[in-house]
């Protein structure tokens, strides 16, 4: 045998041997998971799972604005991920199109199913069957600056409980100086205002959609008009910075961190952000009030589901079930300042003594999310009827025109 042949033989043997472990690994389950780019704890969950399990998950983070389009394209191409963490408002649309695996039988077996956040469970249902469970919960509330409250002579231990009290507090804070404002809203951001403005209407017993989600109630529910007038007053009196009118959400969180804003609608994702990055910010939170009292919250966040076509349904569910376990919920969620999806676990060592987390978590108990397959077209679209209605009413002061416009365009979209 020439040395050349010998080298080739050795090379061939190495190749064959090298491929052996690979074929042995064929039994290993490799799953794909897609998540939208929001600061939930998904990466930590996947890392922990991969370190302790034979099956492995490859996580892909997709920009939030592109998630549904990419997911739809992947489904159309027959290559969806096994597991998807979806903005909960899109779940009905995906389930209705038959793109998610029915997990009703799995959910039935969960001993804690009743304690999972109600808004997320409701959105994960379609025609009486479960298609998704909560994975990242995000309720809305009002965050307020304790220092500014004190400077304005307000009692930070007794935050406002009605719209009138909120307005009074905003006026008092606004009077502190030219660069100090009572409130912040991102009035060029559709989703931000669904998250923080709709609860004002709900807490007062009103809604923009009928109970069966069949029609719009914008021009027939007097509370909608009152809520628009409430926000219009905030704008007209200059209680928000002028720049708020064109903010597309990029300052939704950061505006409050400047220390010159008295109150702002916010979600619990911001709490760890504020405490870690802005330790000097002295803040607390209260529930979004109704006109004369009451409280409501928008149940936002993500649900987790298995995409139709996945070859690993059982294993995918094993992962999903583990994400809801005591271990994951406390040592990964709570330890990172995220509210557990099982509300009974809010009482945990990491949240002990932090009233803000407790209030934020209790907002989820009153959390609600509209159930409609056209949510995106109605509320989230920057060119949709929701934002245009708010801008016309609040910034232009044309409430009648806004109600008419909102009712007409909502109806048009809902009738398809």
């Amino acid at each position: 045998m020439t040395s050349r042949k010998l080298i080739l033989l050795v090379f061939a043997i190495v190749l064959v041997l090298g491929s052996l472990p690979a074929s042995a690994q064929d039994d290993q389950i490799n799953m794909t998971m897609w998540v939208r780019s929001i600061p939930f704890q998904t990466q930590a969950l996947v890392d922990e799972w991969n370190a302790n399990n034979d099956s492995q998950i490859e996580l892909t983070v997709i920009p939030s604005a592109e998630f549904v389009t990419k997911m739809g394209a992947a489904i159309a191409a027959g290559e969806p991920p096994d597991i998807a963490s979806i903005d909960l408002i899109y779940t009905p649309a995906f389930a209705a199109a038959g793109q998610l695996v029915d997990i009703t039988d799995f959910v039935k077996e969960l001993p804690y199913a009743d304690t999972l956040t109600p808004a997320h469970m409701a959105l994960g249902m379609y025609e009486g069957r479960n298609y998704a469970v909560p994975t990242g919960v995000d309720g809305s509330f009002i965050v307020y600056n304790i220092d500014l409250f004190e400077q304005a002579g307000l009692d930070p231990d007794n935050p406002p409980t009605t719209w009138g009290e909120m307005l009074d507090a905003m006026r008092a804070i606004d009077a502190l100086g030219d660069e100090v404002y009572g409130y912040w809203f991102s009035m060029n951001c559709a989703g931000c205002n669904a998250f923080t403005f709709l609860p004002f209407i709900w807490a007062s017993g009103g809604d923009v959609l009928s109970d069966d989600y069949a029609e719009a109630t914008i021009d027939s529910d007097p509370i909608v008009r009152d809520a628009l007038a409430f926000y219009n007053t905030i704008w007209e009196e200059g209680l928000v910075p002028e720049g708020a009118s064109i903010d597309n959400g990029s300052n939704f969180v950061s505006a409050f961190t400047g220390g010159n804003i008295g109150m702002a609608g916010m979600g619990n994702f911001a709490i760890p952000l504020f405490t870690n990055d802005h330790p000097d910010l002295n803040f607390d939170v209260f529930h979004i009030p109704g006109k004369e009292g009451g409280a409501a919250s928008f149940g936002g966040g993500d649900v987790i589901a298995i995409a139709s076509g996945s070859q690993h349904v059982e294993e995918a569910w094993r992962f999903i079930e583990w994400t809801m376990s005591d271990e994951a919920q406390i040592e990964i969620y709570a330890a990172n300042g995220q509210i557990p999806v099982r509300l009974e676990l809010v009482d945990n060592p990491y949240f002990e003594g932090d009233e803000r987390q407790m209030t934020a978590a209790s907002a989820l108990a009153v959390g609600f999310t509209p159930y409609t397959t056209v949510y995106n077209d109605l509320f989230n679209d920057p060119n949709g009827p929701w934002l245009e209605m708010l801008q016309v009413a609040i910034l232009d002061g044309d409430i009648d025109g806004a109600l008419e416009l909102g009712q007409e365009r909502f109806t048009q979209i809902m009738e398809g």
């Binding site: 389009t69 394209a73 159309a76 002028e242 720049g243 064109i246 995106n376 060119n383 245009e388 232009d396």
Partner: protein, 292 residues
Amino acid sequence: MNLSWSQRRKLTGLLLVMPTVAFVTVFFIIPLLMTVYMSFHDWPLFGERAYTGLENYQELSKDRQYLKSLDFTFRYTALVTPPIFILGFILASLVRHNIRYIGVFRTIFFLPVVIGLGVSSLLWVWMLDDRIGIFNKILLDFHLVPKAQLFLGRPNTAMNVIILSVVWKTVGFTMILLLAGLQAIPDELYESAEVDGAGYFRKLLYITLPLMRRTIALALILSVIGSVLSFDQFYIMTRGGPRNSTISIVFWIFNNSFTYFKMGYGAAMSIVLLAILVALTGLQLYVLREKE
């Protein structure tokens, strides 16, 4: 295989054009035919597709935003084309002669063209910002305005500043096109005109413009098509706002196709827009044709 000279010649020609034919077929003809096919269907991103005939096209006349977007797009085109063209012509005239350091000026004028429109739009968003933008800083420092202006917050100013940003971004390209046309005109023509006593405007009117007809046609067609198809600047700078006043037609097609997932309807709008563009270009070519 025995081929005659002329047969071989034909075959060579065919082989030479094949790559282009293949490219155009794959990237233009097939997508175009698919778009036409989609436009006759109810075509959601996921879920069942259904043949709906001409329904998507009939829907167009009832779509208020579609008509509003068409109106906006043509108004925008009418407003943005003259400044790009006139400024481009002035700049081309200024940098026409090959004198020392003229390359520096040509480069400076052309520089914005090499930036992507998306990037330049973002740049303008920050320059126009009410808190940290350079424009507001200058206006406030010189006491030209009492408080920071929200340029992108009002329909009129939003349209004006977008036009300003696009002129800045694209005028260099028009300048280069017109410069090539200007430099192709022989100096002798101007010299003889001067001998005959022609002034600047006579030379412009009777020599420059007539001899640049083809170049002007090309520059105009490219500019008009670019404006009618504009999307990036509105998507990035205003997101169609304020109050949906800056939604261009391509923006509306994008929204329907990729936000509302009505791909069939989006396809129908695209076909109508294609027809409009073909008609517009034909009209421009007819008006600017070389007269026998």
